[in-house]
Structures are given as structure tokens and as C-alpha cells.
Subunit: 211 residues, 2 copies
């Protein structure tokens, strides 16, 4: 499936813009307050969109916030995905994911807060980063790079640790983020059965920048 075909004419583009303005406002509110109690009126104002327009795009506030979370996690997935494109080693892929996610706390604070608050529920989702991580884990297990029984369980462990890294970056911005990310990534690799020395080396390899 293509990532939603680009709108043809001005009508469709304007419509898409209005919708996206609402989603963006909802994302901001999620990042700032962590909850969904803002009124539709407030959201529309924040989006600089007429109040009634809301109902042209969403039937309820829940629907809007669902779209906002999906949108944010999709963007997260793409951001990471673009940067790890050339990497083949499953262990290095996991490590790069951790290290890039930690840097996002600085470069994309809004996204980071949404990830912390809502990410756990999407660990086994078929969208975002989860399916790719699962595939990397399966490849690594099959090739013997990783040593663990079940890819689903491994995905839980890897995803949960990633979430905790995100939480740590937000709760303790004073700590060295790069170091914490590499440390955690090395621990995760050891958890997956990669020898300590190897894990340490993989998590210190040079890394592409993140916007």
C-alpha cells in the first residue's frame, strides 16, 4: 500500500491541510499535557481551523487522538528507518535504533513524549517500527547472531527497554544520553545472546545524524 497518494487538486490539498492541522494540534496537546481532555473548540483554535470543520474530518475526539498517535509513531518509524538504511547486521540495527531514539529526545521532543506515553501499547503493532524490529530479530535468530527462543518475547524485551530509555531521557535530561543509549543497547544485545565484547563494540560504531 502506498503511503496515501498525494492529493491531486487544490480542494483535496486544502482538505488534507485542514485535517493535518487538527492532527498536528492534537499531537502538540498530547505532548504538552499527556492527556486528551482538551475541548474540541480548544483544539480547533490551536489548529487555526473553524470549529465546525472538525466534524468534516473526525466523528469524535477519540478518533482524532488515535490518528494523532498513529501519525506520530509512523513519523518516528520513518525517521529511524531512513537512517539505518545501509546497515545489514541485525545487532547493529538494534543498537542504531536505540542510539537514534535517544537523540530524538533533543531533536524531536514532542514525538518523544508521545512515544513515552503511548508507545508501550503499540509494541506489537503492525505499523511503525515494531514489524521491522520483529523481522530483524527473526533474521538474527535464524542466522545465529542472536540466541533466544522466541522472537515475540524478544520483541517485548527490546521494545520495553527502548521505552524505558525514552522515559529515562525525559526524566533525567542531565545524564549523558548517548552514553546511556549505548549502554542500554549493549545490555539488550547481551540479553539477545551477543557476547559482551562484541555488544560493546557494535554499540560504539559511528552513527548517521538525525536531522
Amino acid at each position: 500500500m502506498p503511503t496515501s497518494a498525494p492529493p491531486k487538486n487544490r480542494f483535496e490539498r486544502r482538505r488534507a491541510e485542514t485535517r493535518h492541522a487538527l492532527v498536528r494540534a492534537a499531537r502538540q496537546i498530547l505532548a504538552e499535557t499527556g492527556d486528551t481532555s482538551a475541548s474540541i473548540q480548544t483544539i480547533a483554535e490551536r489548529a487555526d481551523v473553524g470549529f465546525g470543520s472538525f466534524y468534516n474530518h473526525f466523528e469524535s475526539k477519540t478518533e482524532l487522538f488515535d490518528a494523532a498517535v498513529t501519525d506520530a509513531l509512523e513519523e518516528f518509524g520513518q525517521l529511524i528507518d531512513e537512517r539505518v538504511d545501509g546497515i545489514d547486521d541485525p545487532a547493529e540495527l538494534i543498537a542504531a535504533g536505540f542510539r537514534l531514539t535517544a537523540r530524538m529526545a533533543d531533536s524531536h521532543p514532542e514525538l518523544t513524549r508521545i512515544l513515552r506515553d503511548r508507545g508501550l501499547a503499540y509494541i506489537h503493532s503492525d505499523r511503525g517500527l515494531a514489524p521491522r524490529a520483529l523481522r530483524d530479530l527473526e533474521i538474527g535468530i535464524a542466522s545465529g547472531r542472536f540466541d533466544c527462543a522466541d522472537a515475540t518475547t524478544a520483541l517485548s524485551a527490546v521494545g520495553g527497554t527502548l521505552m524505558s530509555l525514552v522515559a529515562l531521557r525525559i526524566a533525567r535530561p542531565d545524564l549523558d544520553g548517548d552514553e546511556a543509549a549505548s549502554d542500554l543497547a549493549a545490555m539488550v544485545l547481551r540479553m539477545l545472546g551477543v557476547p559482551s565484547d562484541d555488544a560493546h563494540e557494535v554499540t560504539r560504531r559511528p552513527l548517521p545524524d538525525l536531522g
Copy 2:
């Protein structure tokens, strides 16, 4: 500090009961809906408490829900704590925590959902299970049972993996919970530097029941 002195007279007891009924209702709502949008009226009805009474105990809905989350996590901490009382080995303590938490999905489903939705934000809290886990990690690192640099980072990893176990139990009740818990616990121990064989053995030791 004592765990809030038991109320002396009937007045104080009745007051505490009303407050607790509100907290219990808030916990139920958190577990069922995952959000805090229910009206105060609805909450009071659920608690079988007069609407106006709410304001005798809480200034706002936020305050009530904060109390509800704290109450739930405190109960979680105590439940686990009671069961692991005799255990000395830090590795076995961590493993028992994981295995008991997984069983809570069946025995305490409400608590489990709150833990999944709100637990991550409390990973480094000074209440609940976090401070005890941190202490166990420090002891294990000092004694050489664990091999990792920083206890704070380790707490992140352990806590995040525990959260993911909770999420897994809720998302996939069809999987064998005991097995998933032992597997994940073994992976976490390996992450902390415990040799694979050792980790496997520790996570299969007999376990006390959970209510």
C-alpha cells in the same frame, strides 16, 4: 513513616471510607477506559457516594486520579514485596518479581492495566517497587552477582522489560504467561551479566503463590 495511622473513631473511619470509595472507583475507571475523562458525577455514582462529597476529599479530578495511580502502584509493590520476603539472591529476587507480576494479569487484572498504562512514568519513582529494585541491583552489582556499569541504567532496562511483560500479558493472553515471564526474566538476568545456564536455573525455581 507508618503507612497512614489507622483512624481512631467512627468519624475518621467513615471519612476514610468515603475517600477510599472514590479512589477505588477511579481505579476501576482507569482500568476499564484507560483515561480520565469520566465526569466527577459518574465517579461519585460509581463510588456510591454523594456528588458533593467529592470536594471534601479532592480539589480536582486530576488530584483524585493521581491518588488512584499511587494507590494502585503501592498495592502492587506490597503484593510483590510480601511474596519475595525470604529471598536473598538479587538475581532470584528480580526473577521472582517478573514471574509474580505476570501472574497478576490473572489474579489482579485491574491493577495490571493501570500498571501497563501508567507504570513507565514511575520507573524511577521513590515509591512502589522501584526503590527496592534499585537497591537489589546495587547489592547485586557490589557483590559481583551482576556485571553492569550503572544501577540507574540497569533499573531502566529491568523496569522497561517488566512493563513490556505486562503489556504482553494483556495483549496476548493466549500465550503461556509463566513461560513468557521466566523467559523474559532469564533474558533480563543475562542482560545483567548472569551466565545463561545460571539465569535459566534461577528463573525456574519454585515460587510462592499470589493470593
